[in-house]
Protein backbone atom coordinates (compact mmCIF):
# COMPACT_ATOMS: atom_id res chain seq x y z
CA UNK A 1 0.00 0.00 0.00
CA UNK A 2 1.36 3.49 -0.78
CA UNK A 3 2.63 5.35 2.25
CA UNK A 4 2.03 9.07 2.77
CA UNK A 5 4.41 11.06 4.96
CA UNK A 6 4.07 14.73 5.87
CA UNK A 7 6.87 17.11 6.76
CA UNK A 8 7.50 17.65 10.46
CA UNK A 9 6.91 21.38 9.86
CA UNK A 10 3.26 20.67 9.21
CA UNK A 11 2.96 18.97 12.59
CA UNK A 12 3.52 22.38 14.23
CA UNK A 13 0.07 23.34 12.99
CA UNK A 14 -1.93 20.17 12.72
CA UNK A 15 -1.60 16.45 13.41
CA UNK A 16 -0.76 14.68 10.18
CA UNK A 17 0.69 11.26 10.97
CA UNK A 18 2.05 8.94 8.28
CA UNK A 19 -0.61 6.82 6.65
CA UNK A 20 -0.78 3.72 4.49
CA UNK A 21 -3.68 4.16 2.12
CA UNK A 22 -5.07 2.89 -1.15
CA UNK A 23 -4.87 4.62 -4.49
CA UNK A 24 -3.39 4.47 -7.96
CA UNK A 25 -2.61 8.18 -8.30
CA UNK A 26 -1.47 10.88 -5.93
CA UNK A 27 -4.98 12.36 -6.05
CA UNK A 28 -6.61 9.10 -5.04
CA UNK A 29 -4.13 8.52 -2.26
CA UNK A 30 -4.58 12.02 -0.86
CA UNK A 31 -8.36 11.75 -0.97
CA UNK A 32 -8.11 8.73 1.33
CA UNK A 33 -5.90 10.71 3.68
CA UNK A 34 -8.26 13.69 3.67
CA UNK A 35 -11.28 11.49 4.26
CA UNK A 36 -9.71 10.32 7.51
CA UNK A 37 -8.23 13.71 8.42
CA UNK A 38 -10.23 16.48 6.69
CA UNK A 39 -8.42 19.40 8.28
CA UNK A 40 -5.20 18.52 6.45
CA UNK A 41 -6.72 19.24 3.03
CA UNK A 42 -6.48 23.02 3.31
CA UNK A 43 -2.83 22.82 4.25
CA UNK A 44 -1.93 20.89 1.10
CA UNK A 45 -4.46 21.97 -1.57
CA UNK A 46 -5.87 25.35 -2.51
CA UNK A 47 -9.43 26.38 -3.44
CA UNK A 48 -9.09 24.86 -6.90
CA UNK A 49 -8.00 21.53 -5.40
CA UNK A 50 -4.54 21.98 -6.89
CA UNK A 51 -1.35 21.66 -4.92
CA UNK A 52 -0.60 24.83 -2.98
CA UNK A 53 1.95 27.04 -4.65
CA UNK A 54 4.59 26.53 -2.00
CA UNK A 55 4.07 22.83 -1.35
CA UNK A 56 5.95 20.04 -3.10
CA UNK A 57 5.28 16.33 -3.29
CA UNK A 58 7.81 13.64 -4.04
CA UNK A 59 6.67 10.24 -5.23
CA UNK A 60 9.34 7.60 -4.66
CA UNK A 61 11.89 10.38 -4.64
CA UNK A 62 10.70 12.07 -7.83
CA UNK A 63 8.97 15.45 -7.83
CA UNK A 64 5.27 15.50 -8.69
CA UNK A 65 4.69 16.40 -12.34
CA UNK A 66 0.97 17.21 -12.36
CA UNK A 67 0.42 19.85 -9.70
CA UNK A 68 -3.12 20.60 -10.91
CA UNK A 69 -4.79 17.19 -11.19
CA UNK A 70 -2.28 15.20 -9.12
CA UNK A 71 -2.54 12.42 -11.67
CA UNK A 72 0.98 11.05 -11.17
CA UNK A 73 0.77 7.28 -10.70
CA UNK A 74 1.80 5.58 -7.49
CA UNK A 75 2.66 1.95 -6.85
CA UNK A 76 2.07 -0.28 -3.88
CA UNK A 77 5.61 0.46 -2.71
CA UNK A 78 5.55 4.22 -3.28
CA UNK A 79 6.29 6.67 -0.54
CA UNK A 80 4.55 10.02 -1.13
CA UNK A 81 6.40 12.70 0.76
CA UNK A 82 4.68 16.07 1.26
CA UNK A 83 6.72 19.05 2.33
CA UNK A 84 7.09 22.78 1.96
CA UNK A 85 8.93 24.10 -1.09
CA UNK A 86 12.03 26.20 -0.83
CA UNK A 87 11.04 29.51 -2.33
CA UNK A 88 11.63 33.20 -1.98
CA UNK A 89 14.84 35.16 -2.11
Amino acid sequence: MPRVVFTANLQRHIAAPPANVQGRTVREVLEFVFAANPAVRGYVLDESHSLRKHIVIFVAGEPLQDRVHLSDPVSEQSEIYIMQALSGG
Binding site: H13, G42, D46, E47, I55, Q84, A85
Partner: protein, 172 residues
Protein backbone atom coordinates in the same frame (compact mmCIF):
# COMPACT_ATOMS: atom_id res chain seq x y z
CA UNK B 1 -8.78 44.38 34.99
CA UNK B 2 -5.65 46.07 33.73
CA UNK B 3 -5.52 47.37 30.21
CA UNK B 4 -3.90 45.17 27.61
CA UNK B 5 -3.11 45.25 23.93
CA UNK B 6 -3.06 42.24 21.65
CA UNK B 7 -0.56 42.68 18.85
CA UNK B 8 -0.64 40.39 15.82
CA UNK B 9 2.76 40.40 14.14
CA UNK B 10 4.71 38.46 11.55
CA UNK B 11 6.48 36.72 14.42
CA UNK B 12 3.60 35.79 16.66
CA UNK B 13 0.82 37.12 18.89
CA UNK B 14 1.87 39.27 21.80
CA UNK B 15 -0.11 40.42 24.83
CA UNK B 16 1.17 43.76 26.04
CA UNK B 17 -0.13 44.88 29.43
CA UNK B 18 0.30 47.77 31.79
CA UNK B 19 2.28 46.93 34.89
CA UNK B 20 2.98 49.70 37.41
CA UNK B 21 2.54 52.29 34.70
CA UNK B 22 4.76 50.58 32.17
CA UNK B 23 3.75 48.57 29.15
CA UNK B 24 5.44 45.19 29.01
CA UNK B 25 4.97 42.00 27.04
CA UNK B 26 3.01 39.71 29.32
CA UNK B 27 2.51 36.76 27.03
CA UNK B 28 3.39 35.44 23.60
CA UNK B 29 1.72 32.81 21.46
CA UNK B 30 2.27 31.31 18.02
CA UNK B 31 5.93 32.33 18.09
CA UNK B 32 7.36 32.42 14.59
CA UNK B 33 3.97 32.39 12.87
CA UNK B 34 2.79 35.21 10.63
CA UNK B 35 -0.46 36.70 11.93
CA UNK B 36 -2.32 39.22 9.81
CA UNK B 37 -4.74 40.26 12.56
CA UNK B 38 -6.22 39.49 15.94
CA UNK B 39 -9.82 40.36 16.72
CA UNK B 40 -11.97 40.56 19.83
CA UNK B 41 -15.70 39.96 19.93
CA UNK B 42 -17.12 41.85 22.90
CA UNK B 43 -20.41 39.97 22.63
CA UNK B 44 -18.94 36.70 23.85
CA UNK B 45 -15.31 37.63 24.67
CA UNK B 46 -13.98 35.37 21.93
CA UNK B 47 -10.60 36.10 20.36
CA UNK B 48 -9.84 35.41 16.72
CA UNK B 49 -6.39 35.11 15.18
CA UNK B 50 -5.78 35.10 11.43
CA UNK B 51 -2.66 33.51 10.00
CA UNK B 52 -0.86 33.72 6.72
CA UNK B 53 1.32 30.64 6.68
CA UNK B 54 3.61 31.07 3.74
CA UNK B 55 3.48 27.44 2.68
CA UNK B 56 0.22 26.22 4.12
CA UNK B 57 -2.14 29.08 3.31
CA UNK B 58 -4.35 31.30 5.40
CA UNK B 59 -5.89 29.95 8.57
CA UNK B 60 -8.09 31.11 11.45
CA UNK B 61 -8.16 30.18 15.11
CA UNK B 62 -10.53 31.10 17.92
CA UNK B 63 -10.01 31.25 21.68
CA UNK B 64 -12.89 31.18 24.14
CA UNK B 65 -10.74 31.58 27.26
CA UNK B 66 -8.84 34.78 26.67
CA UNK B 67 -6.03 33.24 24.66
CA UNK B 68 -5.09 30.32 26.89
CA UNK B 69 -6.30 27.76 24.37
CA UNK B 70 -6.94 28.09 20.67
CA UNK B 71 -8.75 25.92 18.19
CA UNK B 72 -8.63 26.09 14.43
CA UNK B 73 -11.84 27.10 12.72
CA UNK B 74 -12.78 27.31 9.06
CA UNK B 75 -10.86 29.62 6.77
CA UNK B 76 -12.72 31.57 4.06
CA UNK B 77 -12.41 30.22 0.54
CA UNK B 78 -13.87 31.29 -2.78
CA UNK B 79 -16.70 28.99 -3.90
CA UNK B 80 -16.23 26.63 -6.83
CA UNK B 81 -18.14 28.68 -9.39
CA UNK B 82 -15.85 31.65 -8.80
CA UNK B 83 -12.69 29.56 -8.70
CA UNK B 84 -13.66 28.06 -12.04
CA UNK B 85 -14.48 31.42 -13.63
CA UNK B 86 -11.90 33.36 -15.67
CA UNK B 87 -9.59 35.36 -13.43
CA UNK B 88 -9.92 39.11 -13.21
CA UNK B 89 -6.93 41.18 -14.18
CA UNK B 90 -5.27 43.61 -11.80
CA UNK B 91 -5.73 46.96 -13.53
CA UNK B 92 -2.50 48.33 -12.16
CA UNK B 93 -0.12 45.40 -12.53
CA UNK B 94 -1.84 43.80 -15.52
CA UNK B 95 -1.57 40.35 -14.00
CA UNK B 96 -4.35 37.84 -13.23
CA UNK B 97 -5.82 37.96 -9.74
CA UNK B 98 -5.77 34.40 -8.40
CA UNK B 99 -9.03 33.04 -7.00
CA UNK B 100 -7.28 32.02 -3.85
CA UNK B 101 -7.51 33.86 -0.56
CA UNK B 102 -4.07 35.28 0.13
CA UNK B 103 -4.73 37.24 3.30
CA UNK B 104 -7.38 37.95 5.91
CA UNK B 105 -7.31 41.69 6.15
CA UNK B 106 -10.26 42.63 8.32
CA UNK B 107 -12.52 40.91 10.84
CA UNK B 108 -15.53 42.50 12.49
CA UNK B 109 -18.25 41.04 14.70
CA UNK B 110 -21.86 41.54 13.74
CA UNK B 111 -24.21 43.57 15.87
CA UNK B 112 -25.72 42.66 19.20
CA UNK B 113 -28.79 41.48 17.31
CA UNK B 114 -26.66 39.08 15.22
CA UNK B 115 -25.19 36.58 17.68
CA UNK B 116 -22.51 34.46 16.06
CA UNK B 117 -22.23 36.66 13.00
CA UNK B 118 -18.77 37.69 11.84
CA UNK B 119 -17.55 39.54 8.76
CA UNK B 120 -14.20 39.00 7.08
CA UNK B 121 -12.45 41.02 4.43
CA UNK B 122 -9.82 39.29 2.34
CA UNK B 123 -7.22 39.79 -0.36
CA UNK B 124 -8.01 39.26 -3.21
CA UNK B 125 -11.06 41.33 -2.42
CA UNK B 126 -13.87 39.35 -0.88
CA UNK B 127 -16.38 39.91 1.91
CA UNK B 128 -17.24 36.73 3.80
CA UNK B 129 -19.94 36.18 6.40
CA UNK B 130 -20.20 33.58 9.14
CA UNK B 131 -23.28 33.03 11.27
CA UNK B 132 -21.69 30.40 13.51
CA UNK B 133 -18.60 32.06 14.99
CA UNK B 134 -16.36 31.10 12.13
CA UNK B 135 -17.24 27.42 11.83
CA UNK B 136 -18.12 28.13 8.19
CA UNK B 137 -17.94 31.11 5.84
CA UNK B 138 -19.96 32.23 2.87
CA UNK B 139 -18.93 34.76 0.27
CA UNK B 140 -21.22 37.77 0.40
CA UNK B 141 -22.25 38.26 -3.22
CA UNK B 142 -25.26 40.51 -3.16
CA UNK B 143 -24.12 43.69 -1.57
CA UNK B 144 -23.18 46.57 -3.76
CA UNK B 145 -20.03 47.13 -1.78
CA UNK B 146 -18.77 43.57 -2.10
CA UNK B 147 -16.88 43.88 -5.35
CA UNK B 148 -15.39 40.44 -5.46
CA UNK B 149 -11.78 40.36 -6.48
CA UNK B 150 -11.01 43.94 -7.26
CA UNK B 151 -11.36 46.24 -4.28
CA UNK B 152 -7.74 45.84 -3.36
CA UNK B 153 -6.82 47.31 -6.72
CA UNK B 154 -9.12 50.29 -6.72
CA UNK B 155 -9.77 51.40 -3.21
CA UNK B 156 -7.07 50.29 -0.83
CA UNK B 157 -8.04 47.49 1.48
CA UNK B 158 -8.47 48.96 4.97
CA UNK B 159 -10.65 51.93 4.11
CA UNK B 160 -12.74 50.10 1.58
CA UNK B 161 -13.26 47.06 3.70
CA UNK B 162 -14.19 49.15 6.72
CA UNK B 163 -16.83 50.79 4.58
CA UNK B 164 -18.08 47.40 3.51
CA UNK B 165 -18.33 46.11 7.02
CA UNK B 166 -20.36 49.12 8.02
CA UNK B 167 -22.73 48.90 5.10
CA UNK B 168 -23.21 45.19 5.75
CA UNK B 169 -25.77 46.14 8.36
CA UNK B 170 -23.79 46.04 11.54
CA UNK B 171 -25.80 47.47 14.41
CA UNK B 172 -23.79 49.82 16.59
Amino acid sequence: MSQQILAATRKGLFTIAQDHGQWTIRDAAFLGDNLSLVGYDSRDSALYAAFSHGHFGIKLQRSDDGGKNWQEIAAPAYPADIVESPPLVDDFRKVPIPWSVQLIWALEPGGSDQPGTLWLGTIPGGLFRSDNRGESWELERNRECSTVGVWVCHCGPPEQQRTCLDCAGRQR
